[in-house]
């Protein structure tokens, strides 16, 4: 009798151990996938950093490239990138905000017009960036006669970033509690007052994040700009000048210029640092806004 109970106990223990083992294996698998995800960007930073960091100096940021970029710095590319980014964002923000407001406040998602706008946004965001490049070249550079210029580059980039900005902003606006909408309705507040005083401030932090995501996307884009902004390495003096963006510079150095690899890596480090800084700023801002709320 006693031995029977003992053996039952032992069997039970064995089962328990098996379950523990299984649990450990699963935990290990989950942990390693998480570790892999974290290590990927670190590996990327490491590979680029090892080659790029030694080249990095203030000199690198503040001088013009020489020998087709093999030596010298990236000042013109920084300036061109900022120009292109400014034009892109100045175009995207008002149009995108307007469209997002229209989608979230004026139409329901299942109305015909809401569906048409939504569908075209989905199609647009699925279009490969090279197609935006060709479109920008055909429309802005050729038809509108803007040529290879910062302006054509910025506008083409805006076309590409627009759907992303609209969708993320729309989500930010829709996240505004319906309780506020109902209260505004019951108090007969005008749509304008509601949008300006309640909706936009309460969605501001998320809209800022939408803005940052779009900036990051625009900053990293290459294919659109090769065909529209061109790749002249001069400092642009006007928005009708051609200019080479950072990403285009990286592409050109690593593909077309033998011996350009170290400077390409250094430029990539700069670009990544820029994106990281922008993200940090966004994070800080959204935190501060949340505190204010």
């Amino acid at each position: 009798m006693v031995s029977n109970i003992k053996s039952k106990y032992a069997a039970n223990e064995l089962n328990l151990n098996k379950a523990k083992f299984k649990h450990n294996i699963i935990a290990l698998a989950i942990w390693s996938t998480a570790l892999l995800t974290v290590s990927l960007p670190l590996m990327m930073l490491w590979t680029i950093g090892v080659e790029g960091f030694p080249q990095l100096s203030l000199q690198f940021l503040l001088t013009e490239p020489t020998h087709a970029g093999r030596s010298g710095g990236i000042l013109p590319m920084l300036i061109s990138t900022l120009w292109i980014l400014c034009i892109c964002l100045v175009t995207v923000v008002p149009i995108g905000l307007g469209c997002a407001l229209y989608l979230s406040e004026c139409v329901t998602a299942d109305s015909t017009i809401g569906r048409i706008v939504g569908l075209s946004l989905d199609v647009l965001s699925g279009v490969p960036s090279i197609v935006f490049g060709l479109f920008g070249y055909a429309v802005f550079a050729i038809q509108l006669g803007l040529g290879f210029s910062i302006l054509s580059g910025g506008l083409s980039l805006a076309c590409m970033v627009l759907p992303l900005f609209i969708r993320t902003t729309e989500q930010a606006l829709r996240a505004c509690p319906t309780a506020y909408r109902r209260a505004a309705e019951a108090l007969d507040l005008s749509l304008f007052a509601f949008v300006a005083r309640i909706l936009l401030p309460s969605a501001a932090s998320n809209i800022a994040i939408a803005f940052i995501i779009s900036t990051g996307r625009a900053l990293a884009e290459t294919a659109v700009l090769i065909f529209t902004a061109g790749y002249v390495t001069r400092i642009p003096s006007h928005w009708s000048d051609s200019g080479r963006a950072l990403s285009v510079h990286i592409y050109d150095l690593s593909m077309n210029v033998p011996g350009g690899q170290p400077n390409a890596a250094a430029t990539a480090v700069v670009l990544m640092l820029l994106i990281i800084v922008i993200n940090l700023v966004a994070h800080r801002l959204s935190k501060r806004w949340q505190l204010l709320e």
């Binding site: 309780a179 506020y180 109902r182 209260a183």
Partner: protein, 292 residues
């Protein structure tokens, strides 16, 4: 709970004095004043509410007497809230929602196309189940709607803020921190702020959609007491799940029930007769706790 209530009633008498001294825009509810237009009765005749093909309310008839509290009771999903929101036409913005019949607020059928929606929303205020102050400061919650309705004079607005906050018993609690975000107030305080915000637009009818169901018992008692104080200055129609609450504060009760798939008002009358001498068998079962 009783402590809280007595505190509030002490407050009430205190504010009554204050308001009299200042010739308040909104007279204290305990003493109806001649300077105010008397609250109108509300009457629903054969009102049906349809969402596309689904009938939510079928041929509802209801009389809400002027300057009294009428409670709309019944189980969830029988269309009480839908019926309530027809009275300030909040149903207009719900896609596919169609309201038919006649709804008289005073001598106007507000379902008529000529109704000035803006005027209606000011005349018929609404307070929701979940307290929903705007994410603005306490005073801005009241100032902002006033400004939107063209009341911008600083002195008038400040006076109004003080007077409505006093009326809901919030003034002593918040007068030192009017610039603080309203979302930091407790649930009960938020709900009273919402009532104050609603009162600031000088409605004559106030609709309450389960105003206490998201609040704890203490806050609930405070709000209940406040609603009681609103009569006879305002006509109050209140949806509630809580039969005991309805019995405590309502002068009249209307019982809403699902019949053959859509909501109907099966019986209405003054509180005593509904609880003591119900005619409809469902009312009898419901009010005596056998159903619902």
């Amino acid at each position: 709970m009783y402590d809280e209530i007595s505190k509030i009633s002490a407050l009430e008498s205190d504010q009554t004095e204050k308001l009299h001294n200042k010739q308040a825009i909104l007279p204290p509810s305990t003493k109806p004043s001649a300077e105010r237009i008397t609250a109108p009765p509300v009457s629903l005749t054969n009102v049906s509410v349809r969402y596309n093909d689904l009938i939510a309310i079928e041929q509802a008839n209801l009389d809400v007497p002027a300057g009294q509290i009428t409670a709309l009771v019944g189980p969830s999903g029988c269309g009480k809230s839908s019926l309530l929101s027809t009275i300030n036409r909040m149903t207009d913005t719900i896609p596919g929602c169609h309201v038919s019949g006649e709804i008289w607020v005073g001598d106007k059928n507000i379902l008529h196309t000529s109704t000035d929606l803006s005027y209606l929303r000011r005349q018929v205020g609404m307070v929701f189940q979940q307290p929903n102050p705007f994410p603005l400061s306490i005073e801005e919650n009241i100032r902002f709607p006033l400004k939107e309705h063209g009341i911008r004079d600083k002195a008038t607005v400040n006076h109004m803020i003080e007077s409505v906050l006093t009326q809901v018993g919030l003034w002593p609690e918040v007068n030192s921190r009017l610039k603080q975000n309203a979302l930091r107030l407790s649930g009960g305080q938020q709900q009273r702020l919402c009532i104050a915000r609603c009162l600031a637009l000088k409605p004559s009818v106030i609709l309450f959609d389960e105003p206490c169901s998201a609040l704890d018992p203490l806050a609930s008692a405070t709000v209940e007491e406040l609603i009681k104080q609103l009569t006879p200055t305002y006509t109050v129609l209140m949806v509630t799940h809580n039969l005991a609450q309805a019995r405590r504060i309502a002068d009249h009760i209307a019982v809403c029930w699902m019949q053959s798939g859509c909501g109907c008002i099966i019986e209405s009358g003054d509180t005593e007769s509904i609880f003591e001498r119900p005619i409809h068998p469902i009312t009898r079962a419901f009010c005596q706790g056998d159903k619902g």
